[in-house]
């Protein structure tokens, strides 16, 4: 793999039975780059993202992150995942433990930190996402936006060098979206490598270094936000943007 890239994907294929959802995807992401993936539902962007930490197992192709080939079954995926943060559409906080325990669970269990260090770190990350005072409550009592910010803090606590976001604001009430996007924007500013599947075109325009347009299991267009949003080349891209921007 090429050292200058943080994430390098080569000719990725994924099928469910006869249904091929990824038809040969290649993508390179540089360190500190923020890549937003847009496209219609069912275009394969979420599946692609989930392949990056092997929540989905690709049929063929290669994914290199930190020098490990994620697609190779011999790779110790548990080790690699520690360096890849993932944020889900439905937050997936653990309801059987408090907010702070959600955050300290992985660092302590995986012996990255002592219990005390982990708690200190957790409070630090909760502060970053603006929820320090919620440390000891049960996640069930939080609003959607608060849950998602805790989920981000939980991912950050493992000190990942890549963060994957799978439609992080799609399940939120509109007034909550801003808080979550704000946190993500700050992360981007601090140099985190981020791959974001999103329907928030405004966020993509403002924050992304690159925008990738998915259509029918393939990358149709890949460029700067300006290129994609102002001068889309492919008719599929134009069609999609017409639909989502002119509502």
């Amino acid at each position: 793999m090429d050292k200058q890239y943080k994430v390098q994907v080569k000719d990725l294929h994924k099928s469910y039975g006869d249904n091929e959802v990824l038809k040969g995807i290649s993508l390179d992401v540089k360190p500190s780059e923020v890549v937003c993936m847009i496209g219609p539902s069912g275009s394969g962007k979420s599946t692609f993202l989930r392949c990056l930490n092997r929540l989905e197992v690709p049929n063929s192709g290669h994914i290199y992150i930190d020098g490990y080939d994620i697609a190779d079954p011999k790779t110790d995926i548990n080790l690699v995942r520690q360096n890849i943060g993932m944020v889900f559409q439905h937050f997936n906080l653990f309801p059987n433990m408090s907010v702070i325990d959600n955050i300290t669970l992985a660092p302590v269990e995986l012996k990255k930190m002592s219990k005390e260090e982990a708690q200190e770190a957790a409070l630090h990350y909760l502060d970053i996402v603006g929820l320090k005072e919620k440390a000891n409550v049960n996640p069930r009592t939080l609003s959607g936006g608060q849950k998602q910010r805790v989920a981000i803090a939980r991912a950050l606590a493992m000190k990942p060098d890549v963060m994957l976001f799978d439609e992080p604001t799609s399940a939120l009430d509109p007034e909550m979206v801003g808080d979550v996007l704000g946190v993500m924007q700050n992360l981007a500013k601090e140099g985190m490598t981020m791959i974001v599947v999103t329907h928030e075109m405004g966020f993509a325009k403002r924050v992304a270094d690159r925008v990738v347009f998915f259509h029918d299991g393939k990358i149709r267009e890949d460029g700067t936000p300006e290129q994609i949003f102002e001068h889309p080349q492919h008719p599929d891209t134009q069609n999609f943007l017409n639909k989502v921007l002119n509502v």
């Binding site: 930490n53 548990n78 653990f94 669970l105 995986l110 493992m158």
Partner: protein, 486 residues
Amino acid sequence: MKKSWWQRTIISCAVMLMATFAGLFVNKQVAHAEQTYTIGVVDTFAPFEIQNKQGTYTGKNPGIEPEMIRMIAKHEHFKYQYKIMSFNAILQAMQSGQIDAGMGGMSVTDERKATIDFSTSYYKDGIVMAVGKNSKITKMSQLKGKTVDVKSGAAGALYAESIKDKYGFKIKYFTTSNAMWNDVKSGNGAATFDDGPVLQYGIRNGMPLKIVTKQINATPIAIGFKKGQNKELQAKINDGIKWMQKTGRMQKLIDKYTKGSGTKTESSKNRTIFGLIRNNRKALLTGLWETIKLTIIGSLCALAFGLVLGVMGIAEGKFWKGLSSTIIYIFRGIPMMVLAFFIYIGLPNVIGQKIPLFTAGVLTLMLDEGAYVGAIVRGGFEAVDVGQWEAARSLGLPYSKALVKVIAPQGLKIMVPSLVNQLIITLKDTSILSAIGVMELTQTGTVIIARNMEGFKMWLIIAVMYMIIITLLTWLSNYVQKRMEA
């Protein structure tokens, strides 16, 4: 591939289980070496066998055979212990070697001689036909098209089978005399063929039946042994019978039970519900305690077995999943009574070792209820949102840590109501173990009723006892569930 911790856990659990059972067998062997004979004896079959209130054969009037064995053992210097079971179970247990000898007013027949060695006969016993007190039937020729009740495997059954076509009646089988007599009493069965002395004893103790024939086919009664085994015990008992006959002890013993009235059971003034409870208090409490013990130990074993099955059922590998499903499929598919018979009576034939009754009972509960618990556990784990797995795994937690820290606590909470329900079912299912003779509450009831003939009142008492325990259990579980919610 490296085995993960839970695979190792499952393997070590299996090894521990096997070691436990091996241990039980080894203990049994040691006991065997001391020359304590295990004698299978039927539930009360008066006057041959009369259990006391505790369901044992100690005391002054244990019946002809236990009193005879007591005298012979003293004279011949051997020790013995009784295993109380149904007559049919004795025949099978004798063949499987679970018991060294069996007795229960056993008739010597040619058919039985093929698989059983008999002692010298000490008594002759004939079949009689009995009908309800007010029945108009007096002759076998009046039985055409009617139902005749017999005890399966007993001489009366063999006789009824031999004349069934001649007289054109149907046969219904029972396991205890008492249930059979009550069936005739209520008019369901037109008549019964049973041992003369036994029926006489029952009628003397208040069973409203009447004997309408003379003794038919008087057959010798003897103690049975597994064919070709236990020659030593057979010789001792034969010697003892000879001694008793020579010294007149045998005749005195038989007269005591067939002529005198000193061996009647409870007097009529104790036959109210409260009188019955007072009289049988100790036996009922012992039976209840056995039921509770079986429920607790059986449920704990079933829970352990079920957890293993459940964890295997959601494992990543196809092998473990398939194994779990297969085990659940097998034990859910076998009726518990069949499983109990298989373990207690069938298995010893194959492994060549006796299985203690209580162990067989617990093992049955563990396998049968454990299969259901396994399905509950698997279902509970599967009911946890798949997003929880993904979140835990994406943080880098290995499968086992994700299961223990994230999935299991949530899954167990989902399972609690089903598990409590299964606990109550287990409590009720322990009654099935009465079939192999475990002296739990139901079997205690059977034994008491065989002695005092108070079927309705005793079963009412037993039913209420079960309901009280189950009500308490339900309250407890509601309390626990409320505490968990909070």
